[in-house]
Every structure is written in C-alpha cells, then in structure tokens.
C-alpha cells in the first residue's frame, strides 16, 4: 500500500467508528442473510424426498454448461446476450465484491502482481458493462416491454416495478464500484504513488479523469462514503433477493447442479419407495408434497417467461402457463413460510386454491417449457405429481375416465376387443404383400414390432402400421407382433397420473415381451418408443422406425425412387417424444433428404422448439378449454413456412394434424403423411418375381 493512502477502515477517524462500523454492517448483513436462508430452507426440509446427489461429475459438467456457460441463454438473442454480459460481470465482480468487503475490514487483501493488475482492469470493465446492461434492461422493461413479461389478469399484478427496483439496486452497486475505483486511483495519483492504470475507456477511467483535480481529502471522503453505500446496498440486495425474482442469483447454481438428468422419464411416485401399495397418499395434493428440489425450482424461477412463451397450451389459450405454476407456488410458499412471522403451513389442497383442475390437465407434457428454461426448472414431473394427487382423490375429468377404464379392462383406451388387436394385418392387399407373424412364448422372432393401441385399432393409423411392417419386411427383418398379448404401452396413462394402471400395463407387456424372445424392439409410435426406452426396465433395446430406416439407408438396404409428388413442398414436424424427449432430430430429416427431388423446408419452430400438435395418448380424449386447437396453429406454421405436406413420425401427430387441416379449412391445400408411409411409397422394391413384388412395382410406378 502506498504511503499516506489508507484503507477505508483506517481513514474512518473522521467518523470515529472505523472498523467497527464496517464490522457491524457485515455482521448484521450476514446475520440477516443467514436467518433469511434458514427460513427459506424450512419448506424444503418439510418437502418430500428427492434423490439428487448421484452422478456428481455429470452434474458438475452441467453446471459448467448451463450455469457458467449460460448454455440456454442465446436462444433468446438480445435478452440472452444481455444476461450473459451481466452474468460474466457478476462473476468477475463477485470476487471483487468480496474483496471490497474484506478490504473494508483488513488492508492485506489484493491479488498479487500481474494477475491482480489484470483482474483490476477486468473489474473496471465488468462494472462498466453491468452498469450499462442494467440501464438497457431498465429501458427494456419500461419502454420495449417484451410481451412475455406481461402478467395476464388472472395471474395477478404486473411484476415490472419489482424488476426495475432490483435492476436499479444492481446499477447502484455498479456505480459504487466505479466511483470507488476512480476516486481511489485519483487519490493515489495525486499523492504521487505508483498508479495502477484503469482500463481504458471504462467508466472508472472516464470518471478518474473528471476527478483528477479534486483534492485528496475530498477524494478519500468520497471513497469512504461510497464504501459504506456499497456495503449497505450489497447487503440489502443480498437480503432482498430471497423475497422475489432475484432469488435465482443465489439458487441457480444449486438448481442447475441438482437438475434432473434423465430425459424422457417421469419421477417415481415417491423417491426410494418401492412398495407403492404401502403409501397412504399418492402425488402432490398440498404444497409440502412437492419434493425439496421442486420447491427449489419455485425459488429459482427468474420470471423470464420463456417457458410460457413456448408452451403450446398457453399459445392455444388453455388455462395453463408454466411460468405461473412456479410463480403461484412461490407466492404460496412465501405466504405460508414467511421470513418474518409464523409459519402457517396448512393442509390446504393446491388444486382449488392456487391451481385449477383445468390447468393441470391442460399440459400435453411436450417439454417445450423445460427445453427453454435457462435454470433447468422441471415442469412435467410436477404436473404428473399433481395429476397423481387428483387421480388418488378420484378427481379425473369425465372425458378420460372411460378410456382409463377401458385400458384397465381391455388394455386399450377404445374398449375394443383384445383379440382384434392384430386385425390391422388382415387387410387383403396388405396380406398379399406382407405377412406379419404373431409372436408368443412358442413363436419367436429377432425383432418385435411393438404396435401400440392407436396403430392397432384406429382405421386411419393402421395404415402407418402396415407401412412400418412393409418396411421391416423389405429390409429382410425377421420380425413379428404380439397381437392380443400386447397391451397399451401405458406411456400416457403414467403421464396422466394413473401410476398403478401403468404398472399393471407395463408389467404385463414386459412379461409378454420377454416371453416372445425377441432381441430388439422396433416401434413407429414415439410414445411407445419413449415408454419402452425410458419407462420400462429389463426389455430389449428399442428403436423408432426412423432410426431403422436411416441406418438401413446408410447400409445401402434402402434406396428411394424420385419423389412422387415433385411439386410438393415438405416440412418435417418433430413429435415431442421423438424430438425433445429423445433428441432424435436428424434421422427423419436425413431420410427425407435422401428421397431424390424432395423439396423440404423448415418451420420456424422446429427441432427442440417444435410446437406440440395437441398431445397424444389420453390427451386425444381430453376436452380442453381452449381458444384454438394447437394443431390448427401448427398447420398454419407449416403453411407459413411454404410447405404443403407435413411429414411427421407419430400416429398421434397424424390424428391431430389431419383434424387440424380440416378444422382450419385447408383440405386440398395441406396434407399430412407419416414418415413410414412416405418411405413405404418411395422405397425401391426388389426385382418383381411374385404377386407381392408385382404389387410393389405397381406402387412405384403410380
């Protein structure tokens, strides 16, 4: 330290309080913070168990990706860049903030040598950048007002004031940093000490120039004053954060570390509880039934609105906004577990108080919200848990009670006879071209084609089943189906909260699959694919037909004739359970692009931002309250992209798309086709020798 220059603590003789004042601020600040954090931890400690301490290396890697490298942020470009700059500044300054806090107390703290010098320069810039970003952010909030921040009337009051107040506090903190650095350097310079140069053109640098002529005592007083203001603001901000949207600054690191690792899965009814029959209650009924991690999610929500901005249910006007699932739960938590005053936890049902039945049944579990959330907040598991609670109380929408009952008695939601499950193979023409074997414990095959209910029974969708079978037959696959032995995969039974029925269906299927002796499974239904891959245990590896086609194409076993409909413009719609939940984006596109002459365009919302068609499984039976069908919006998106054929790879998408085309009055202008159907049409068949190939030939030449 330069002779004659004192640390703020030493100069404080004019105040006569010196170190004591700083010490008091620190201690009071830290005491408050500790108390607040303790109070905020109470509900988490009362929450349900959640196993999140496994796989530490994966979790650390994710912290680097999603927290430190802000992976999701650039998905919203301007807001994302702003946030990355602020975050980088914060990280830089966090070290400095603590340094300043310690500097206030002791003289010894500084980074040594060159590193210290570079670091000081970096902080000058960091403070400048964050300060400017805060100003931009305030302007953005007040004047540009991005639509996704708006609070619809039914969800309460606008959040702008709180947001601007917090941004202002941070700006204030930055200003303190800047003035401190400038006055400090000016004082050093005037007393002829070795001056550490400030970063050129940074705000401290500019301010330093302005202060060059200010007398030293004044500079020292400014420096001391600013230190105190900094301290007070710093601790106020730190203690205020756990009261609102700024809580994420503290919780985000933990939220990302403890985030869910396994895609496509649903959390168990209760972590670590194998015997479900023993449980007194299922799912989430009261706030305390949420797991501690889910409560941490509520704390961590930054209110950025990206989830709801991408939520198809929200877009279609259904009474669901993922953002407010979090905000309402956080408000509930703050109200019943206040920092000051008595905890007033009540056995109050969440549905009927903060959530409505329609709200939780509106979700298609498409995963758009989770894909978008920069803080990796989970929604699907919470929705499923809330539904489990409802199912346990017998409160299931009338429209899905019947299909659930039919699934219980008949193994399919339509209540059709089990023995007719393989009837889709009996089509006369199809039987001539392709024989599908029915497997059981006596008749085995290498590959099991898991058909699932909709493809087995729905007149329109059966065509996808036949196309799939013909493709498997074409590539010489030794395959069969389980026929009456197959039951619904239960994928959406589980996601609709009827866990025990899912257990019945899945254990039946697992047994039947094992008995038929196949060494791998193929399906054309992404919901079945996801169930077999991520929900079922101990079954052979499963592939979606798109993967099979892509692989066989690469191996030269599948080649395509020039596209039949050369004037058509195709677009590929990513099914949620193939895309987002299982990251299968490229195989279907590669297959389409391999068809000679096929023109393909992308919709604005594609790949991991795909827009759900309206939901599959039991969602087909649910009668939502909505302004518009999701499917209609999606079909419009395809039209906007200039396409007139929507290719999808999911039977439920097909149902929704074809309905939507009719509802939108776009018949004749837009068609939908399944990837398997298109491939089946375009595939180059082998040399015709018998009826079957003659028929195939005919198909090709149409």
């Amino acid at each position: 330290m330069v002779e004659g220059i004192h640390s703020p603590a030493q100069v404080s003789d004019w105040l006569g309080l010196g170190r004591i004042l700083f010490l008091v601020i620190h201690l009071v600040g830290l005491a408050f913070l500790s108390y607040i954090v303790y109070r905020r931890l109470i509900p988490l400690l009362r929450g349900e168990r959640d196993i999140r301490f496994d796989r530490p290396l994966t979790r650390v890697a994710r912290v680097f990706q999603y927290w430190l490298a802000q992976w999701k942020h650039p998905r919203y470009r301007s807001a994302g860049i702003l946030h990355i700059l602020i975050f980088a500044g914060f990280i830089t300054l966090a070290i400095r903030s603590f340094a300043l806090v310690i500097f206030g107390l002791s003289d010894g703290f500084a980074f040594p040598g060159r590193v210290g010098h570079l670091y000081d320069m970096a902080t000058d810039w960091a403070a400048t950048v964050v300060f400017v970003c805060m100003i931009v952010a305030i302007i953005r909030r007040l004047y540009w007002k991005p639509a996704r921040y708006a609070v619809p009337e039914r969800y309460g009051k606008d959040h702008t004031a709180d947001a601007v107040f917090l941004l202002g506090l941070i700006a204030m903190l930055m200003l303190c940093d800047i003035v401190f650095a400038a006055s400090n350097a000016a004082a050093h310079a005037q007393q002829g000490g070795a001056v550490e140069p400030l970063a050129a053109l940074s705000l401290p640098w500019l301010l330093n120039r302005a202060l060059a002529a200010t007398p030293v005592p004044a500079l020292l007083n400014v420096r001391l004053g600013i230190c105190i203001v900094h301290e007070l603001t710093f601790y106020f901000l730190l203690c205020y954060r756990p009261f609102g949207i700024q809580f994420h600054v503290i919780t985000s690191l933990f939220n990302v570390y403890f985030a869910k690792l396994d895609r496509g899965t649903v959390k168990p009814v209760r972590w670590g509880e194998a015997n479900l029959d023993e449980l007194e209650s299922f799912g989430v009924k009261r706030f305390e039934d949420f797991t501690w991690k889910h409560m941490l999610d509520f704390y961590s929500c930054a209110d950025c609105g990206r989830c709801s901005d991408n939520c198809p249910a929200n877009a279609a006007g259904r009474p669901l906004s993922p953002r407010f699932l979090s905000i309402k739960a956080r408000d509930y938590s703050f109200q019943h577990y206040p920092v000051f005053g008595r905890t007033s936890a009540r056995q109050e049902a969440l549905i009927g108080s903060i959530y409505s039945e329609d709200e939780i049944w509106s979700c298609t579990t498409c995963g758009a919200c989770e894909e978008e959330c920069p803080l990796l907040i989970e929604y699907i598991d919470k929705i499923v848990d809330l539904r489990r609670g409802q199912v346990d109380d017998g409160k299931v929408p009338q429209s899905i009670q019947r299909p659930l009952k039919a699934l219980e008695t008949r193994g399919n939601p339509y209540g059709k006879l089990e023995k007719k499950r393989a009837d889709w193979t009996l089509d006369k023409e199809f039987r001539l071209s392709c024989k599908v074997r029915i497997l059981d414990d006596k008749r085995s095959a290498d590959t099991l084609y898991f058909v699932d209910s909709i493809t087995s029974y729905d007149d329109r969708i059966q065509a996808i089943g036949r196309a799939t079978a013909r493709i498997l037959d074409h590539i010489g696959e030794n395959f069969g189906i389980m026929g009456a032995l197959e039951k619904d995969s239960g994928h959406d039974v589980r996601r609709f909260g009827e866990e025990m029925l899912f257990v019945e269906l899945s254990s039946h299927n697992v047994q039947a699959i094992k008995a038929c002796g196949a060494s791998r499974i193929v399906t054309a239904d992404p919901h079945a694919y996801n169930a077999l891959k991520n929900d079922y245990k101990d079954v052979p590896p499963v592939e979606h037909i798109a993967q099979v086609i892509a692989r066989e194409m690469d191996d030269g076993n599948i080649s395509f004739n020039p596209v039949r409909n050369a004037n058509a413009v195709y677009t590929y719609h990513d099914p949620c359970y193939l895309g987002r939940h299982n990251k299968l984006y490229d195989d279907p596109r590669r297959v389409l692009d391999a068809i000679p002459g096929l023109r393909r365009v992308e919709m604005d919302r594609c790949r991991d931002r795909s827009f759900c068609c309206g939901g599959g499984g039991l969602m087909l039976f649910y009668e939502p309250k909505e302004d518009q069908r999701m499917g209609v919006k999606r079909v419009q998106m395809a039209a906007d992209a200039g396409a007139n054929v929507i290719v999808t790879a999911c039977p439920f998408c097909m149902v929704n798309m074809e309905d939507a085309i009719k509802v939108a009055g776009m018949e004749g202008k837009m068609t939908a086709i399944d990837l398997a159907e298109l491939v089946d049409e375009q595939i180059v068949r082998r040399v015709p020798t018998d009826t079957r190939d003659a028929m195939a030939e005919e198909t090709v030449n149409v």
Binding site: G394, T409, E499
Partner: protein, 263 residues
C-alpha cells in the same frame, strides 16, 4: 345417514361388441367385459357425497353370483364402506319382482335411511326401484336429478320430466329414489383403490341368511320370462346431405326444425 345403493353388473356397452349367440336366446358372452351399471355408479357417487356432507355410511348390495363381487369391490374402492352379495342358487332366474323381494329382505335385516337405485340398468327394465319401494311401503321418486337433505326426516328432490323440465318434490325418509345420470360427476376409481380393497371379504347372503322362502323368488316365482332376443331390422340408413357448406347447414336447420328440435 345410512344409505343403501342397489347396484348391478352389466356388460359394458362401450367396451363390448354385443352380438347374439347362435341359439338366439342370449347375447354372446365369451369375450364380454362387465362394469357397474352406469346409473348405479351415479347413485353411489350421490350417496358418497351425501355422507361426506352429513356423515354416515354407504352400503352397496347386488343380487347375483360370485362374478358380481367385482363391481361391489369397485364401488368400495370408490368409497362405500359396506357391501353385500345377495346370492343363492335358489335366486337364479328371478324376475324384477323377485330381485325386489330379495332386496326388501336385505333392507329389513338392516336399517337404512335412504335407498338409491339407478333409474334403470343397461340390460334391465327399470322396475326394481319402484317395486322395492312398494314392497317396503316407502315413498318413491324416480328420475332424480338432485337431492337436498332438508332434515333427518325430509328430502327435497328434483325430478326430470319430459321436455327437459324439472319438478321439485319433498319426500319423507326413509324412501327409495331412482337416480338419473348427470346428477353428479362420479369420481374415478383407480387401480390403486381397487388394489386396496382387493382382499376385503364381502359377505354373501343366501336364502337362510335373509329368511327368504325359496319358493317366493327365483325361476319358480318369476312371472315374467324372457322368451327371445332379436336385433331390430335396420332402418333405411342415414341420409347424406350434399352441396356447399351453406346449403348443408340450411338443410340441417330445416330438418331439425321439422322434427321440433328448433323453435
């Protein structure tokens, strides 16, 4: 309030393809799945809602065989506390009066403030409720679409009458009511609930337990006997309306008006 709900197991029309057997005297029963008669399910829900408000118990009873236990269990999973399977070889072939006689005997062995039945069974004749009331000499209201308990002795019930109109009635307890669908939204019975009641022993009551003269019920006593089953001859079929959307709409309105659906 102690409430008895009389329930019946019927082939579920939404989950079966109902066809006649070869002899033509019954439906093909090999692949049928059964469920509780829809009206009865509404009656059980109504009973449960009443005891949730006022306290008491709901008991469900059915006349039938071993297979019928399934629906008693389902209704217990729904929330009914008591159940009884009224079953005896001598009861087989009972007509509606026979069933009502058996239920009457069961009611007289217990104490119920209120007895509910469905308006009708999917495979029935909508007779048992009224007959039971007459045999017990209880007041009876049919087609009930809402129940309000005024006091321990009195109910106010809404009945559906033709043309979508409703009438209000007051009736003394104990009484018999036949419940119309739509009176409530029956709760869902999940697998979990069914598993929880899977091991409950359901009492079976035969002729001796009920103190019934075997000759007063069953096939011997039945005054009505089913003689045949037949599928009605198909009508002319649907009329397809053609032309532009506007024309089709106009035509539909005209047709609905002609049939009195629009005024």
């Amino acid at each position: 309030m102690e409430i008895l709900v009389c329930v019946k197991r019927v082939p579920d029309t939404s989950e079966n393809e109902i066809t006649l057997n070869r002899a033509g005297n019954d439906i093909e029963r090999d692949d049928l799945v059964y469920s509780v008669n829809e009206w009865d399910n509404y009656a059980v829900e109504e009973a449960l809602q009443i005891v949730e408000r006022l306290g008491g118990n709901v008991t469900v009873a059915t006349v039938g065989g071993e297979d019928d236990e399934e629906i008693l269990r389902r209704e217990m999973a729904m929330g009914a506390k008591g159940s009884a399977l009224i079953s005896d070889e001598a009861f087989e072939g009972s007509d509606s009066a026979g069933i009502a006689t058996l239920l009457k005997a069961f009611v007289q062995k217990n104490r119920f403030d209120l007895i509910l039945t469905g308006v009708q069974a999917e495979d029935g004749a909508a007779q048992v409720g009224g007959m039971l009331a007459a045999m017990l000499d209880y007041p009876f209201a049919s087609l009930v679409s809402s129940i309000e308990v005024l006091n321990e002795k009195k109910l106010r019930v809404t009945r559906e009458i033709e043309g979508g109109n409703k009438e209000l009635n007051e009736t003394d307890l104990p009484c018999v009511l036949s419940i119309q669908t739509g009176i409530n939204e029956p709760r869902y019975v999940g697998m979990r609930g069914i598993r929880q009641v899977a091991s409950i022993v359901i009492p079976t009551l035969g002729a001796s337990e009920l103190g019934i003269d075997k000759n007063s019920v069953g096939k011997i006593a039945a005054k009505v006997q089913r003689t045949d089953y037949f599928v009605p001859v198909l009508g002319k079929g649907a009329e397809m309306l053609g032309g532009s959307r506007e024309k089709v709409i106009d035509k539909v309105i005209e047709l609905v008006k002609a049939k009195g659906g629009l005024k």
